[in-house]
């Protein structure tokens, strides 16, 4: 199969960008989408042009480095997978495919398809942890955790921090990302002492970074490669309300 790619190229944040069209050579439908970009980049290099910059690393859907908006959808057409786990069999021979970076003001463009997502680190630094010093932990069995709570916390903890939820949201809201972390700790007994302080600090930082508000359209859940549930946003809102009432 062959496809026509319309790829966003932009030298840096200060230079205007544009779409550039590339016709791919013959491709194998078992290739991943990123392997197709590898092939195109090999070709560009041999033609003396600069290859397309894009983020990627583990290529098995867990590190959260890869991004890309493919035909208008963060992480492409398939539900519940990251871009690196998108395969060409999801497309048809001759398709024209639009490839753009994750666009959101708190994710400044670096080059071509690469954006900066350090805003997420700053939100985590504001309170996304349980304050426990190395060596001071009690025995792991000191506090039993009901299986249901552990499973639910794991559902939230599965977030890979890719930012697709922000990229798809019309308000560039980071509520799904933040609520996943807040809920993971809020559901576990270990997370209770800092529960309200944490949610207040993280939400405050989220606002400071310029992420928008949530209007519960659910597009974030629809594109999340780990299918993080919208329920966690409701949970966070409740915790945040309590935090405000308590003056945390």
């Amino acid at each position: 199969m062959k496809v026509k790619l319309k790829v966003w190229r932009q030298r840096n944040a200060d230079t205007p960008g544009r779409f550039v069209v590339y016709d791919t050579p013959e491709l194998n439908p078992n290739m991943s989408f990123l392997e197709m970009l590898d092939v195109v980049n090999e070709q560009l290099t041999l033609q003396g042009e600069e290859p397309i910059a894009f983020d990627h690393d583990c290529r098995e859907g867990i590190c959260g480095t890869c991004s890309l908006v493919i035909n208008g959808k963060p992480h492409g057409p398939q539900r519940g997978v990251a871009t690196c786990q998108t395969y060409l069999r999801s497309f048809r021979d001759g398709d024209e495919i639009l490839v753009e970076p994750f666009r959101a003001r708190p994710f400044p463009l670096v080059k071509d398809l690469v954006v900066g997502r350090q805003a997420f680190d700053r939100i985590m630094t504001a309170g996304g942890f349980i304050s426990v010093r190395t060596g001071s932990a009690p025995d792991a069995h000191a506090i039993p955790v009901p299986k249901e709570a552990a499973e639910r916390a794991m559902d939230a903890a599965a977030c890979i921090g890719c930012g697709a939820c922000v990229a798809v949201c019309k308000n560039a809201s980071a509520m799904l990302f933040v609520s996943a972390k807040v809920s993971q700790f809020g559901l576990l007994p270990q997370g209770q002492p800092e529960r309200y302080r944490r949610v207040a600090a993280m939400v405050e930082q989220m606002d400071r970074e310029g992420f928008g508000a949530c209007t519960v359209t659910g597009s974030c859940e629809a594109v999340c490669p780990k299918r993080i549930s919208l329920d966690f946003i409701a949970r966070m809102n409740r915790d945040y309300g309590v935090a405000l009432l308590r003056g945390a």
């Binding site: 030298r11 194998n28 078992n30 290739m31 991943s32 392997e35 590898d38 092939v39 090999e42 290099t45 041999l46 003396g48 600069e50 290859p51 983020d55 990627h56 690393d57 583990c58 290529r59 098995e60 867990i62 590190c63 959260g64 480095t65 398939q78 786990q85 395969y87 080059k111 690469v114 900066g116 997502r117 350090q118 997420f120 680190d121 985590m124 504001a126 996304g128 942890f129 349980i130 304050s131 426990v132 010093r133 190395t134 060596g135 932990a137 009690p138 792991a140 069995h141 039993p144 955790v145 009901p146 299986k147 552990a150 794991m154 903890a157 890979i160 993971q184 700790f185 576990l188 270990q190």
Partner: protein, 640 residues
């Protein structure tokens, strides 16, 4: 010749670590904040070390080439982490975990290091649970365990098939806590390109900002490398694409010894290669071997048949047949070689004939689909995404792939290299796994090194250096190192040849896989040692690196890493050639028993080979650290 003093404390094995901690020098709390420590890498080892050193009061600078410390490849570890908790009451103990690990490593690791690892393993689980890592639990609320290869007890703790992710996010959260406290400063998109050595001591690094191309010098009282393994020298591997050996390689060229480079691990259960375009291989967790059964047809003529059409009597469950007491949970090196053997016999399945079945039909019948989905659901999903096949209905096809490197920079008991002030943690060092690593032990070692070992040992070194005597970055050693880095970048960009970096990396990887992969022999290694320098020469003349050094240039990043792989590949083959025995992941065809098992030569090779760089024009020196076994008896490793 380098001085290799292991500094293993005296006394009985079980008391060495506690005695050593007591006898270690301390730095008083008021002085700690005067010391600066550089940590390169923020995987399990780097992030846990940074956080813990920060808690202790040191001033820490952490460097990662990713956009965030949360991306390191520890995140991809699936199956679990071992710990001698004996929560299952199945006879586990520190001593048993120690023994299993020593035996699993084919008696090529230091007793004292491995014992310490087993000892601190239980504390790691306590620490992670307290951080909110959502380990799998039983209905009573207590932690669940599963089994892993090379062990007959259930001591592996797990968080679905994403244990590495959860442990890394725990360590990352601990790091965030210290970033918030101001004790740690984090530099993302920053790659270490050289180590700075002043008067024989590691005193700083040269880094490049990957977004702006800016080259910066950083000085410190000690440098910690936690930069992972070098498996990507093979190009196709289960490593993340960016994982690389540059930090440890450049430290090697500054005088740090490189130990046992030929100890590489080929993981038996990966998704087979499907085409030439392939950029990486994906692991299917070893935990699948708890319930999956591995087989190939007995008759090569059946290998293309629908697996359901092959009756039980015509299947060869070769691991169960050859290793009845461990069965499908035989260690990785042994399982990989067994898979290679049946494929060499023409019984491999799938289009390429390079694959074996991992079959869940029995498990599904015994446990039901739902239980299997609960245990392995996300792995079955990954398999489906990649192959478009439903492993609940047809057996998975798997094949061995490059996965981990046991070799690495040489370190003493304190995790300090022969260069004083340079500490090496996790997969980047050589210390705990001998010639083969058991499953679920990499996460254990990374966190043991970072949370517990280094924070206990680094003060012994720091107490010997005065904090106000840190050399300034204007010292000539910094200028010289920076100039070397600049020169290399200029050379790569100026070449403008006709071949891409990727094409060279592929060719090198193929060469290594063929001659220094699952099975090695003298003729093949000698051939590789002739071809690698020629290919390296061509690389220097004919590589094409587009773009500039003033902004994000992913081709340039990779070009520097591949240049290092060429040199490392040569050392790897040299070490494999010199080690005239088979042990663990290093299998020399000349040294095997009639049944195909590895034949060690304890008389001549019960030692660590630590290579010392002698400059570009002279072969490296092979230093030897003898391995002394006082507690365990070296035996032929048997899993039969």
């Amino acid at each position: 010749m380098a001085k290799l003093e292991s500094h293993i404390p005296a006394g009985p094995l079980a008391q060495k670590w506690s005695r050593h901690l007591f006898e270690s020098k301390l730095v008083n709390p008021a002085n700690k904040r005067k010391y600066e420590v550089i940590v390169v890498g923020a995987g399990l080892a780097g992030a846990s070390a940074s956080a813990t050193l920060g808690e202790l009061g040191y001033r820490v600078k952490t460097f990662v080439y990713h956009d965030s410390p949360r991306r390191a490849h520890s995140i991809a570890a699936q199956g679990g982490i071992n710990a001698a908790k004996n929560y299952q009451n199945d006879g586990d103990s520190v001593h048993r975990l120690f023994y299993d690990t020593i035996k699993g490593g084919d008696f090529r690791a230091r007793e004292a290091n491995v014992y310490r690892l087993a000892e601190v393993s239980a504390q790691i689980i306590d620490q992670c649970v307290a951080q909110g890592v959502p380990f799998a639990r039983e209905y009573g609320g207590l932690l669940d365990n599963r089994s892993f290869g090379g062990a007959q007890v259930s001591r592996t703790f797990y968080a679905r098939g994403q244990t590495g992710q959860q442990l890394l996010l725990g360590a990352y959260a601990a790091l965030c806590k210290e970033l918030a406290a101001g004790s740690v400063e984090s530099f993302s998109h920053t790659e270490m390109l050289d180590l700075v050595v002043v008067d024989g001591h590691a005193k700083g690094v040269i880094v490049r900002n990957l977004l702006t191309g800016e080259i910066v010098r950083h000085a410190a009282d000690a440098v910690v490398l936690a930069t992972g393994g070098y498996g990507n020298v093979f190009n196709l591997s289960t490593y993340a694409r960016q994982s690389n050996a540059t930090a440890i390689w450049r430290a090697y060229k500054r005088g740090a010894c490189f130990a046992n480079p030929c100890y590489t691990q080929i993981h038996p259960t990966c998704i087979p290669v499907s085409g030439d375009y392939q950029s990486k291989l994906t692991l299917m967790s070893e935990s699948l071997r708890n319930d999956g059964r591995i087989w190939v047809p007995k008759d090569p003529a059946d290998r293309r048949k629908d697996p359901h059409a092959i009756p039980e009597s015509a299947r060869d469950y070769y691991l169960e047949r050859k290793y009845p007491s461990f069965g499908n949970l035989a260690p990785r090196d042994i399982s990989s070689r067994a898979a290679k053997q049946v494929c060499d016999e023409g019984r491999g399945v799938g289009e390429s004939g390079l694959g074996v079945y991992l079959d869940f039909a029995d498990a599904i019948q015994r446990l039901g689909v739902e239980k299997v989905r609960e245990r392995y659901g996300n792995l079955f999903d990954i398999y489906h995404e990649i192959t478009n096949e439903d492993a609940y209905r047809v057996p998975m096809r798997i094949f061995p792939a490059m996965h981990y490197t046991m070799g690495g920079l040489w370190v003493d008991y304190n995790l300090m290299s022969n260069l004083p002030g340079l500490f090496v943690l996790g997969e980047a060092n050589f210390s705990d796994h001998g010639a083969n690593r058991l499953g679920a032990s990499a996460l254990m070692q990374g966190l043991a090194d970072g949370y517990f070992v280094l924070p206990g040992t680094i003060s012994t070194y720091l107490a010997t250096v005065k904090p106000d005597q840190r050399p300034p970055t204007t010292h000539p050693a910094f200028a010289e190192a920076e100039e070397q880095v600049r020169q290399q970048i200029r050379r790569l960009l100026a070449c403008r040849g006709r071949r891409t970096v990727q094409s060279f990396h592929k060719e090198l990887g193929r060469l290594l896989w063929d001659h220094c992969g699952m099975a090695r022999n003298e003729a093949g290694l000698k051939q590789a040692l002739e071809r690698i320098p020629a290919l390296r020469e061509e690389y220097a003349q004919n590589v094409n690196v587009p773009g500039s050094d003033q902004d994000l240039n992913q081709s340039l990043e990779r070009a520097g890493r591949v240049a290092d792989y060429f040199e490392l590949a040569e050392l790897l083959c040299r070490d494999a050639l010199e080690r005239r025995e088979s042990c663990g992941g290093h299998f020399r065809e000349e040294f095997q028993y009639p049944d195909g098992e590895a034949r060690r030569d304890d008389e001549h090779f019960a030692h660590v080979a630590a290579w010392e760089y002698q400059g570009p024009d002279r072969p490296p020196l092979r230093n030897v650290e003898p391995l002394v076994y006082a507690e365990v008896k070296m035996a032929t490793r048997s899993y039969k």
